[in-house]
Amino acid sequence: MDGMRENEIIDGHTHDHDAHEGSLHADDHSGSHQEDSAVHEHSLDLTVLRAKLREKSGKQYWRTLEELADDPRFEDLLHREFPRQASEWDETVDRRNFLKLAAASLAFAGISGCRQPDELIVPYVKQPDGMILGKPQFYATAMPFGADAVGLLVESREGRPTHIAGNPDHPSSLGGTDVITQASVLNLYDPDRSQTVSYLGEIRTWSDFLKAAEARVAKAKTQGGAGFRILTGTVTSPSLAAQIGNVLKQIPAAKWHQWEPAGSDGAREGSKLAFGRYVNTVYRPDKADVILSLDSDFLASGPGHIGYMNAFYRRRKLSGPSDTMNRLYVVEPTPSVTGSSADHRLPLRSSEIEQFARGLAALVGLGGSGTLSPLAQKWLDAVASDLTKHRGTSIVIAGEFQSPEVHALAHAINTALGNVGTTLYYTEPVEANPVNQLESFTELCADMDAGKVDTLLIFGSNPVYDAPHNFDFTSKLKKVESAVLLSSHFDETAEYCQWHIAESHFLETWGDARAFDGTVSVIQPLIAPLYHTHSAFEVLAAFTDKPGQTAYDLVRERLKTLAGSTDPEKFWRKSLNDGVIANSAYAPISVAVKFSPASLPPAKTPPAGQLEFLFRPDANVHDGRYANNGWLQELARPVTKLTWDNAALVSPRLAEKLQLTQRAAARGGEHGQIVTNVIDMSISNSKVTAAAWILPGQADDVVVLPLGYGRKRAGFTGSNKGYSAYVVRTSTALWSVMAGTDAIKKTGDEYPLACTQYHFNMEGRKILSTGTLAEYRKNPEFAKEGDETPPKEMSLYKEFAYPGYAWGMAIDLNSCNGCNACVIACQSENNIPVVGKDQVMRGREMHWIRIDRYYAKLNTETGDPGATDYDALDNPQTYFQPVPCQQCENAPCEQVCPVGATVHSAEGLNDMVYNRCVGTRYCSNNCPYKVRRFNFLRFQDWETPSLKLLRNPEVTVRSRGVMEKCTYCVQRINNARIEAEKQNRPIKDGEIVTACESACPAKAIVFGNANDPSSRVAKLKAQTRNYPILGELNTRPRTTYLAAVRNPNPELEKA
């Protein structure tokens, strides 16, 4: 009894310690209701908030809805030194058991003694050519993704791929990456990967499969191939298409279907509508002065987005007030990464985008007309006049998920504006076999239902999970006599397929892939398959008369034909070395618009008062295929800052109507756990339950359902997270569906979401500096206004002299759109662990670089807020600020460490010495930037063998009780210095590239020697836009920021 009582006292709040993983059932999170009642009542009142925003004038920034509401209880939560329960024992082991374990550990510690066991060195028997032990090797390869392929340089450590960087010579990368390519190396080492061939769930050998395949082909041949079907995603690989062709050649009645749940039929069909045939559009944002995005997130998703980001921000780099920059208009229903960089952004329902495009077509003289609200019309007028002023130097980009009509209108407008050939050009489609995928998939499903399909090969698709729900794909799949699935995991579809072949990762196999502009790259493996896995080439070969043919043979064969007059062997080596096949990019073609906007049938006007539900691929896990990637799960989504879950994103006005709220829960203080309302949504004869998330900037009456969650068989990390939006997605409404307001019902339940947005509030100080181009020209020093950095002599501490290098970093906020590539690059380079949703809800995520998102009132609103329908809550300006360790010259952390675990280096780094750290956390408490991360638990997985292969051997793997933080990639600094010193020369500018700098597609981060006035970083720091954050504390941070400058249209400014 005594023991029990004690447990209750110590353990009083543990009832919900593990309640938050998993589904949205009310009983799963009942615990979180029982938090402090004072906070419980503290929910968000959007009406009050709106009134407050109207009162405020001038530039205002806010990061969370609560902060804006100025709620005293939220302030209280912030000012509490320790969040409630932060210091309380909250783990499964109670004190008594802990003491027992501690005593036992101590006793056993004596037995094992102080001497370490011997360690073995296992050298090669025959060392591979060109390998120098201890030195990384870099190989060029490419990651195929949808209708694009991203060129990569992969770092290999003694044969293990450990880190991915972009290939500067590849047009889809230009040196940058995005989160998905960056995190793909973790997919290789995913311990949940499928490892063998299996038949009806039993392990089989590859030769068993070959025999079965032979029998299937023999059978198919008797019917000419009728009943034999192949289902793939979008294929851009010429060799894979050729291999599919080889299969179809011998059984001509067989068919190849394609289905990509987040593919873009709109773009394909739009080009057909405009030009009468499928063409591919390549944009050149670097040539454009004015860009209009019609719901296109071209900087963050879709073919070519990494290269586009590079090109777009090249036009936003300012070296002085006389420089010019481009102007971006974005019309979109839900805030996107691209929208956050917009100079003008108009929230508009997805169904109204077509009206907008029609209106624009009319204004550029193409005829037709569009009906818009007065505000949108005024906006459109200004955009149209700006575009017509920039004939030949503007682009209109239609969104991937918009209708064919919008795409066709964009083509017509671009042609009318004379942009074709300058800011964009057309090429042959990059897809090997462009088809209307929905039609293709519908045909397959109908044939399966009619019993016409007896053999179905599925490559890298997961239709049981992601097919439109009205297809009822599962029951149709059951009618197929023999289904063969090639997939990386034993997923939802594998359950219903007879054969499951474990798929090789792209780092384990040969192949090729075409990028968005037609450039072909050879995909070369960095490692032999870790398990008994196979590639699509090998599986297809099993169905041809050459079952042993490998991808290597096929790709090499193909390259021989491309070599032309050059020596094929040389050509092959050069293609592998460069990562691109020379001159393989498509040449521009000229196509004529055979379409008149006036001839379009009248657009369906969405009925008033209806809600619009949108389906969008998730920014991190995409259509669900990356659900088991812990890095991507834990990475805060760029705009919502949500981790580990998807939510139903609702507009603030709709939230008001439905009385939806959210609140920062007591647990973890202002960190992490946000409790939201659960809503039921009845759409398209189906129902889904989700947590609601209020998203400022979303168009009225729009609800966004991110795809990719609610997986049942993703693996340990990805299964049963969030909800699946596919269960309400139908083939007639792939991207948006209208429903009455009664489609949403509050269930009365609440659900905790892990959100990093509420973390580390910087409290109204001058953290972010922004201005307009006009302001910048009038006052180049605007960023420094209010900066109260004291004179150098003001410090009590001894000044350090930096006679040698002084490492520094400059981050251009004008080029940052919060895409997160740097965060994952850092995680991969520095062995940063994943902590899980429960720990993120306690504010314990470990990312060394965080990206703060700030909202600001639109400048247009300051004049007369009553004049428009939109106020700051409905359409805020969004800014992003990456915050790594600032490497202060007067570092507050260094002064308080009792054990000297964080000390100043001679080059100005705040060195973190893990082996000295005893975990007092004083440094973190004293850090004004809150950039230190503490290993509260042993977050690293030290047991799983495959994850050991992933680690960067240059960086210590930290254990429990140790503080860690950004080191400016000191391992890279040291390696570069050693190389330079061996040659007795100074380190060259640009020789050291930090992981974040290397990943950034926009080149917003620049690292170098601030002591060298000719270095890139010193030049940026010398700009007037340069400012430190919290300079008044005299910390003298080495990381400084360049103020963001927007380029608004004066015509819209006046409004």
Binding site: C114, R115, Q116, D118, E119, L120, I121, V122, P123, Y124, V125, K126, Q127, I132, L133, G134, K135, P803, G804, V903, S905, A906, E907, L909, D911, V913, Y914, N915, E954, V955, T956, V957, T967, V970, Q971, I973, N974, I978, E981, K982, N984
Partner: protein, 219 residues
């Protein structure tokens, strides 16, 4: 009232106090000594290896250069343990039938590595780089001792952090002419202080402050 304690108690109490202090001091010295002793550092401890490879024979008697086997010592962080192939370069002809060498031949036949026991072992949080030391003129024998005299290799230096810092604080003492780095019989000349200074200046050896920054070795 008679005194409860005899006068001798004064001595006993003083003696106990002093000896307690002395014993604690002795204990501390003992613990620190133990940490620096070969028991803890493994200095001078010879390990059994899968093959009784003699550096004395190969280096001392036959005169092989260090870099014949440790190929990456000038270019990489690690000197490199040679692959079995390197052994077989000679031993496919020399002593081709020796029973001693059967593990080598077996490794070569079966493509299985020889599991050598690591002799010089640094903690995981220390990042030592061979190439920079060798390139700046720190000789092999400075740290590894007279390898050419060792039938089985043992660790000649304690490899404690204070031992590392000994040189990093005063690198001049360890610098040799660059052509003498691999000379196992190099003797520190009498004018080391003088030539050391000259070498340090020529080779742009970093300042003590830079060489003793934590991130030079820990990261």
């Amino acid at each position: 009232m008679a005194q409860i304690f005899h006068r001798s108690t004064n001595f006993i109490s003083r003696f106990s106090l002093f000896s307690a202090v002395f014993l604690i001091g002795l204990g501390l010295v003992g613990v620190l000594g133990l940490a620096r002793s070969p028991y803890s550092t493994n200095q001078d401890v010879t390990r059994a290896q899968p093959v009784q490879f003699s550096h004395k024979h190969h280096v001392g008697d036959d005169g092989l250069d260090c870099r014949y086997c440790h190929t990456s010592v000038e270019t990489s962080a690690v000197a490199g343990i040679p692959p079995t192939k390197t052994c077989m370069n000679c031993h496919s002809v020399l002593y081709a039938d020796s029973a001693y060498l059967e593990p080598i031949r077996e490794s070569y036949r079966t493509d299985k590595s020889i599991p050598w026991v690591k002799v010089h072992r640094l903690p995981d949080f220390v990042y030592f780089n061979h190439s920079i030391h060798v390139n700046k003129g720190v000789g092999c024998s400075t740290c590894h001792g007279s390898i050419n005299q060792m039938p089985l290799v043992f660790q000649a230096s304690p490899l404690l952090m204070e031992w590392c810092l000994g040189c990093h604080r005063n690198p001049e003492q360890a610098l040799r002419p660059l052509d003498q780095v691999f000379n196992m019989d190099w003797k520190t000349p009498a004018n080391q202080a003088e030539i050391g200074k000259q070498f340090a200046a020529e080779r742009k050896i970093r300042t003590t402050e830079e060489l003793t920054s934590c991130s030079t070795c820990h990261r």
